[in-house]
Symmetry: C2
Subunit: 176 residues, 2 copies
C-alpha cells in the first residue's frame, strides 16, 4: 500500500493525460506518462503505477507496452529484481518529434499523389493543392533543421552523463 499521491500532483497528472489525449493517447497511458515524469523514484513497477494512477493491472500492462512501443517510456529490469520497472525514456522528445515529422511526410506524399490525379486538369483547379504541397515541403525541410538546433542548444551536454544514482547500476539498456 503506497502512500496516496499528493492531491496537487494527482490533478497535474490528470491534466497531462488530458493534453495527451488530444494527440490520441489513451487517458490511462497519459496518466502513466505524467506520473512517470514526476514520481520518486523515477522507476516504477506495474503495481506502483496501478496505485498511483488508480487503474487496473491490466491497464498498466497494456498501456506501458503501448508507451514503450511508441518510445516514450523505457521498460527496465533492475538486476536481481523480480519485477519490471518503467521510467520515462530520456530522449522521448526525439521520438515525439520524429513521429510528427513522419506525419508530415505522409501528408506530403498525399498532396503529391493528389497533384498526379489532377495532372490533366486546368491550373486553376490545382492551385489549392499546390499551395498545400508547398507548405508541407517547406516544413519537411525546416523541421529537421530545427531539431538539430534544439540538440545543439542542449545545455546538459546531451544525456550522456545523465547517470542517475539509482539504487544499483542501471542496465542502461534499451531493448525491444
Amino acid at each position: 500500500m503506497r502512500k496516496p499521491v499528493e492531491a496537487g500532483l494527482r490533478e497535474w497528472v490528470e491534466q497531462v493525460s488530458m493534453l495527451l489525449e488530444q494527440d490520441g493517447v489513451p487517458r490511462m497511458a497519459g496518466r502513466i506518462f505524467g506520473w512517470l515524469l514526476v514520481c520518486d523514484p523515477p522507476e516504477q513497477s506495474l503495481e506502483d503505477l496501478a496505485s498511483a494512477v488508480q487503474g487496473s493491472k491490466a491497464s498498466m500492462s497494456t498501456m506501458t507496452r503501448l508507451l514503450a512501443q511508441s518510445g516514450l517510456v523505457d521498460r527496465v529490469r533492475l538486476p536481481g529484481a523480480r519485477r519490471d520497472a518503467f521510467r520515462i525514456q530520456p530522449s522521448q522528445w526525439q521520438t515525439l518529434w520524429r513521429s510528427r515529422i513522419a506525419l508530415i511526410q505522409q501528408a506530403t506524399a498525399l498532396t503529391e499523389r493528389g497533384l498526379e490525379l489532377l495532372s490533366g486538369r486546368p491550373p486553376a483547379q490545382r492551385t489549392r493543392l499546390e499551395e498545400l504541397d508547398r507548405q508541407y515541403r517547406f516544413f519537411l525541410r525546416a523541421l529537421p533543421e530545427i531539431l538539430e538546433r534544439l540538440e545543439l542548444e542542449e545545455p546538459s551536454g546531451e544525456r550522456r552523463a545523465r547517470a542517475r544514482p539509482a539504487r544499483g547500476r542501471e542496465p542502461a539498456r534499451h531493448a525491444t
Copy 2:
C-alpha cells in the same frame, strides 16, 4: 444529381480524411476538406458536398460549421445566390499551425505548473520535467520564426493579408 466523383479522387479524398482523423478531425469533416481541395469549382454547396462525399445533409451542415470555426473552410454567399457555398480558406495552413502552437503553449504552461509543484523536491526528481520544459520553450521560440520564414518564401503575395475580410457577409445564422 451530380456526376459521381471519379474513383481515384474519391479514394484520395478518403485518404485525406483518414490522415486528418489522426488529428481528431471527424471522418466526414476530413472528407469535406479533402474534397474542397480538389473539386471544381472550388465553391461547393451543402448539396454538392453531400453528393460528393456521400454523406447526409445533417453531416454537411454540422461539419462545415466545424471546419469553418476552426478556420479551415470559408462559408461564402455569392451575391444574389440562394444557397451558401463553401471553399477552403486560402490561409488555412496558418490556422493549422497556430493551433499547433497553442497546444505547445498549453504544454509549456503545464510543465511550469509541474515544476512549481515540485519546487520543494530534490533536484534529481525535477530534472525530467525541467528537460521537457526546456524543449517546449525552445519550440515556442522557434516555431513562430519558422512560420515567418514560410510566409516570406511565399511566391504569390496573396496571403499578405492575414485576416481577409470575408466576402459574403457573415450570415447572422449563429454567432460566436
